[in-house]
Symmetry: C2
Subunit: 321 residues, 2 copies
């Protein structure tokens, strides 16, 4: 089949692209390279079934329609994925996550492509009282512009599916780790420790509890659902487990063979809008036969290994405090 992967030069997108090509699918990557890396597509560009379209989804229009035309499915991963700095520009998430999604839907409508898979986030649950949190959790209150924009995009996908215009699968991801990871606390910590192995500064008090999933397991769930034809379905995607930030620090420093002084910034949240407890109930996705191969600790350690072996990713990383 022919699959469009928006954000295909990013962390998850490039892993998905490689997996789809490996099983014989054609892949059209649509990306503006705002945060993606050309290096991640180095293998893909050698494949005959691969096409790259440089395009900013916020623009939409003819170029996007041409990219999508003739495909069997769109995996829409392109997004502003920065939860923490949403307040730097209060319209960024609206444009990159909502308007971009509506542009994809319009282009699908124009070209007769009906199947879409969408990367949402566990952040949409806000600070839910029900943990592990199922897809049917109570109507949430958002705690970030990122979460708000993903809820909005999910809502539009639901409405489009309701009237029969699309077949949509929404995945609510926990934080994804693993090879090509470029964004989040593990790279922040590894970058800090690479610069100064004796000290690690950490936002919050280390008690925040998070759940992580290895990108290979994430990609396996996406590839398994791409040829399904539901009207509308939502899956949490994570491991049925959680760890504290302090656990994660122990695993990272252990893997690096370091024993730095760890200086906590304090407070039960890393930043305003940080969610102190994320643990998704994955019963629904597991009922489809999907099981994660990697546990949380393994996902963290595979990420550390990748970053150490790929110094250029660390070099390109600018930690923001």
């Amino acid at each position: 089949m022919r699959v469009v992967v928006t954000g295909g030069s990013g962390f998850i997108g490039s892993n998905l692209t490689d997996a789809l090509l490996a099983r014989g699918d054609e892949v059209v990557v649509v990306d503006n390279f705002s945060t993606g890396r050309r290096e991640f597509l180095a293998g893909a560009v050698e494949q005959p079934g691969f096409t790259l379209v440089e395009h900013d989804l916020v623009e939409g229009g003819d170029q996007l329609e041409a990219a999508i035309d003739g495909s069997d499915a769109v995996v829409h991963l392109a997004a502003n994925a920065d939860v923490r700095f949403g307040w730097d520009d209060t319209r960024r998430d609206l444009g990159q996550n909502v308007v971009a999604t509506l542009n994809v839907l319009d282009a699908m409508e124009a070209t007769g492509v009906e199947r879409i898979l969408f990367s949402s986030t566990g952040s949409v649950y806000g600070e839910c009282d029900v943990v592990p949190t199922p897809e049917t959790a109570p109507f949430p209150v958002q705690t970030s512009l990122y979460g708000a924009s993903k809820v909005a995009a999910e809502a539009y996908l639901g409405a489009w599916a309701e009237v029969g215009r699309i077949s949509a699968t929404v995945f609510r991801f926990v934080s994804i780790l693993g090879p090509r990871y470029t964004h989040g606390h593990v790279i922040d910590f590894v970058a800090q420790l690479t610069k100064d192995p004796n000290e690690l500064r950490v936002l919050g008090d280390g008690t925040q509890q998070k759940s992580y999933l290895d990108v290979s397991d994430c990609v396996a769930a996406l590839t398994a659902r791409v040829s399904e034809q539901p009207s509308f379905e939502v899956f949490n995607l994570g491991v049925d487990d959680r760890c504290t930030v302090a656990d994660s620090i122990r695993w990272i420093t252990g893997r690096m063979g370091l024993r730095p002084d760890v200086i906590f910034g304090g407070g039960d949240r890393g930043w305003v809008g940080d969610n102190p407890l994320i643990h998704l109930d994955t019963t629904r996705i597991c009922s489809t036969g999907w099981v994660p191969v990697h546990g949380i600790r393994e996902a963290v350690e595979r990420t550390v290994d990748y970053l150490i072996e790929n110094q250029w990713v660390l070099d390109g990383h600018q930690a923001r405090r």
Copy 2:
């Protein structure tokens, strides 16, 4: 206090404006008169505490900031309220309901106004299995672009409140009826019967169950909450009762003294995306001391009386089939 009412020339907005002026508040109406009626502000413009700002909220900017500056609260009612025809222009709800709300929030931020009350809708629950539907209903799937846009706006309000930028109250309205009602099935039916008293054509099979609230009760809830300072709160607003479309037809024709042939279009929904069962759980708003004065039947009959006494509203109404 000084209250900005966006959409203040509309059905609910003009009733709210009159109520606020009557209790001695200053009122600034911001409206672009796209669907509002100048006639509804005929009384308000005579009051010394009243200011009218003609402005399209989709534009935002300096004019909106000037209108909001110095106020104690914004009651943001302006919206595209057409659920049924959202697909005529798939971006209309995004602009008028989401971007307009973000423009209001930006203007509040710029002028230091923190309090906002927002008109959302029971449509955000989609086709919820839990009836009567409480505010904590399961994470919904949207069935209309209108619902999607209201969910999106609610989500942004939640995120803004979470970071302490605003104090927000979200009201999820059932359909509102009563004096100055200009949009929905009661005016469609009365207009049809005024033209031809012998025949009434109805979408769906008459079994759809809906809940209605009289605008005076709606306004009472808004005025009661406007000076509160919660971080973020959500209230369903309706009566704890429902009726079928067939009931409503009986009350309307009875009030008009007519016995027309009623021709049902068939199907359990009036249109694609119509919700066949709306009944909100109002326990939460009732716990604040608010109680609706008018029942559903009374709200329907008061609407019929108003329309018959105000032929000019009927004349301005264009039924869409």
